[in-house]
Amino acid sequence: MKYKTYKNYYYRGIIVNGKIVAVFGNMVVAEAAGEVVQNSVGYCCRDDGAKLLSEIIRVRGRNVDLQVFEETRGLKIGDDVEFETDMLSVSLGPGLLGQIFDGLQNPLPQLAEQEGFFLNPGKYIPGLDQEKTWDFTPAVKAGDTVGAGDKLATVPEGIFQHEIMAPFTLQGQYTVKDIAKQGAYKVSDKIATLADSEGREREVTMRQDWPVKRALAICKRRLMPTEPLSTRVRIIDSMFPIVRGGTYCIPGPFGAGKTVLQQITSRHAEVDVVIVAACGERAGEVVETIREFPELTDPRTGKSLMERTIIICNTSAMPVAAREASVYTAVTLAEYYRQMGLDVLMLADSTSRWAQAMREVSGRLEEIPGEEAFPAYLESRIAGFYERAGAIELNDGRVASVTIGGTVSPAGGNFEEPVTQGTLKVVGAFHGLSRARSDARRYPAIDPLDSWSKYTGIIEPTKADRAKTVLKRGNEVKQMMTVVGEEGTPIDDFAVMLKAELFDNCYLQQNAFDEVDGATPPDRQKFVFDKILEILDTDFDFETKEQARKIMFEAQDILRTWNYEAADTDEYKTSVEKLDKFIAAKGRE
């Protein structure tokens, strides 16, 4: 028997029935009439016919606790529940790039076409277009042996050759019995038959499903992530770098610039695919991305930025349980493209909303709460999530990566809270935004004194450390000056303070809205950094503070102008000459 249920595909598993015995918020308790599988999906059937997708999150005797991914309004005691054996999963296959999904992989544009303005409960559309055909080119022939994740074929998907891979669930080696000829096929068409050593056959389509909460990493080995990943944000690349396969977090109070920083990164990051998970934040911000990206060209491919992007969008007004699922959906899609040998960046805004969703569920399950009522397993969940990032060597020797960057929205902007602390324990880099910097409009408001990175980026660590020392000392001098005034500050200290200001104003700060200044490629960063380091290292022999201020202002003026000049222009060259002359003459005409 076939049921048209989960993800609207025909489902061949067994359906176990149950009855609702309790409803509380988005939690339903049902009595099951048979076996159920932890973390598998179920449907709560409202009496008007709507079936609400749910996930089993606890089993106690015959009582099954489900979190419902929809508003539970209208559910009644005694309503039917249908349990399936499939885990909450995503459909993988061609057609994901450029899409905008909700947290459960329903394509939002298609839902809008079907349902209009609102996201009505119980309406689901398959994540992959069932009708679209793809130009299929086989990469294996009958008789070949393949294992899980091996390439069977390719289809062009926008900017890539999308690889059709042998099912990730295969155990051991299989023989290709037959493979479809070159031609156009739909995602659910059979494209190959594989047989195991005992001759048991298995049909393969271009689509395969994978449970979102299980990491997908079929590889020879995991690698130490070391390859710098340029975001073209200077303070990140030069001072607090991230690497392909690494992890980082951006905590900061409201309005400090977390979202803007992620938006910039999603545009400029030097990776193949970007997955944006808008998790429990404003719908308006997603709309900005949705409307802007198709208009922007990706300098690396010359195509629209949207073609390398997938947006997973579960905004704050959408059901909470689906918010919890959305980050897993996003990371699973990231892992899928990694299996094709690509470098993928996944950005989650905000992981605090995801943690809060866990807290809500935990509260309804009446689990013993930890700090700030977060569940005791919060830290292990955070760790498990970031663990899914990583650089891997695929079985065919290619290196690929998933990098994860998550924002954190700490209550009251205070980093001493469970989500920030749990995240800091596991990530490789910390970009802490400070209220003081954002209030002073020093964007990006990453605090250069607090932040850190365990990775090595494009700037040699010894050089970066020299710059950091100047910043630190400059800050100390500034603190002291508030007490002793400018008069009481020795001129050498005063000079250090001015140098720190210069480095901050002209290098660390960046105008996100300027085409040139907004994105500095790695080579240019290295070049500018060296020049600035020269200034920081120069002993200017200032005689008076007036003179010191005037000379350093002039340096700032030259640098700032330079920042806005495109690399291959005459103005750019003039600025470099001007700067060299300035340094040689120590600012004296």
Binding site: E71, R73, A112, F254, G280, Q356, A411
Partner: protein, 444 residues
């Protein structure tokens, strides 16, 4: 005929449990007691036990009272007959006029599909220079006013209501003092907008549960108007009172509090309401302006803090003025590049100078000597505060920009303003003195 149930098993806080079957989650019920009837809402189902949140509170509810379930969630009538009317937090008229007979709409509709949202780009003129010039309000924006008790935040809301030229104004009062409600009504009446205003008012004297429904009622009506293509302005005051009612109910339901007694889902509860602000692609819009009083003037208090994480900026109202620092309209850049070519320059330039003025004042207060430049800044600060910042100033945007130029010209040389030369040359007031200008204005 609907069945009555009378086996009440528990009464605690505002919640009553009753033995009943066939009841839907979130469904509405009517409880009849000696004291009269009240609406109630299902907030938990467990076997044959139904927990109901009683809108009028449980004071005087007896275990012998009767409950009738309505078989539907909370609804609100929707038609033009609502215009000019005043209702309470359970949707009943509080203006001594009859019930409105109309099509009913459910409160708490699902989220809007982001695909169906437009990027907002219409500026709302408020006549308040601190908003129009420095933090422009944009249609469909959700923006709170952070303030403390005693500040004129309700007056500010009322003024925006009067001047925003919205098609429909919704006012949701939560924990409102009766005087304040009357003041709103008077202001709207005098301003001639009462006929397009609908009010849902919960006063401090009303049952706490009714406070919870006020935003939902307003937003449901507002959304219906927006779907008809109308430009709706929804004013909510005070969202801290709303959050406190949430807290009270959560505690009754024995939920584990997360932060200072507030439930862990405070963010979600607030976001679900604020996110109703929308610019529909293919229909109208709803703009949402809310008051949030900050207990202890502390922004890190859970209510303002969670609000800040949800809304598109915030206005701080301090000492009767909109504080230029800290206040932020996150959508302003969508509109302020299209008004007049000097808008952004004035916005940045005037604020920079005002920041400098504040520093100078600090220096002066510490007894430092004042230079010529310092004196210019002090003079500028005084003019800026009285002619631009003061809340009584009520002028259109262009006039406000012109006034800024006049102030600059009175205090500074063009180069001292830090404004780009091309802009200065175009807008710097010509040789005319202020008196001449006034004389000229008088003759027109």
């Amino acid at each position: 005929m609907r069945k009555y149930y009378d086996e009440i098993t528990r009464i605690a806080g505002n919640v009553v449990s009753i033995t009943a079957t066939g009841v839907g989650y979130d469904e509405l019920a009517v409880i009849t007691s000696a004291r009269g009837t009240s609406l109630a809402q299902v907030i938990r189902l467990e076997g044959d036990q139904v927990s109901l949140q009683i809108f009028a509170g449980t004071q005087g509810v007896s275990t012998g009272d009767r409950v009738r379930f309505l078989g539907r969630p909370m609804q609100v009538p929707f038609s033009d007959d609502l215009l000019g009317r005043v209702f309470d937090g359970s949707g009943k008229p509080r203006d001594d006029r009859p019930d409105v007979e109309a099509k009913m709409v459910e409160i708490g509709s699902p989220a809007v599909n982001p695909i169906k949202r437009r990027r907002p780009d219409f500026m709302i003129d408020t006549g308040i220079p601190m908003i129009d010039i420095f933090n422009s309000l944009v249609e469909s924006q959700k923006l709170p006013i952070f303030s403390v008790a005693g500040e004129p935040y309700n007056e500010l809301l009322a003024r925006v209501g009067l001047q925003a030229k919205a098609d429909v104004i919704l006012l949701g009062g939560m924990g409102l003092r009766h005087d304040d409600y009357l003041k709103f009504r008077d202001t709207f009446e005098k301003g001639g907008v009462l006929g397009r205003t609908i009010m849902f008012i919960h006063t401090a004297a009303d049952p706490i549960v009714e406070c919870l429904l006020v935003p939902d009622l307003c937003l449901a009506v507002g959304e219906s108007y927006a779907l008809q293509g109308k430009r709706v302005l929804c004013l909510l005051t005070d969202m801290t009172a709303f959050s406190d009612s949430l807290k009270e109910i959560a505690i009754t339901m024995e939920q584990i509090p997360s932060n200072r007694g507030y439930p862990g889902d405070l963010y979600t509860q607030l976001a679900r309401r604020y996110e109703k602000a929308v610019d529909f692609d293919g229909a109208g819009s709803m703009t949402l302006l809310a008051c949030v009083t900050m207990p202890g003037d502390d922004v890190t208090h859970p209510v303002p803090d969670n609000t800040g994480y949800i809304t598109e900026g915030q206005f701080y109202l301090r000492n009767g003025r909109i504080e230029p620092f800290g206040s932020l309209s996150r959508l302003k850049q969508q509109v302020n590049g299209k008004t007049r070519d000097d808008h952004r320059a004035i916005m940045d330039g005037c604020l920079q100078l005002y920041a400098n003025c504040r520093e100078t004042r600090e220096k002066r207060d510490m007894g430092f000597e004042m230079s010529d430049w310092d004196r210019k800044l002090l003079h500028y600060g005084d003019l800026f505060e009285s002619q631009i910042m003061d809340l009584s100033v009520n002028i259109p945007l262009f006039e406000a920009l012109d006034r800024c130029w006049d102030i600059l010209a009175e205090c500074f040389e063009p180069v001292e303003t830090g404004i780009r030369r091309a802009i200065v040359e175009k807008h710097w007031p010509k040789e005319m003195t202020r008196e001449e200008k006034e004389a000229e204005a008088a003759t027109v």
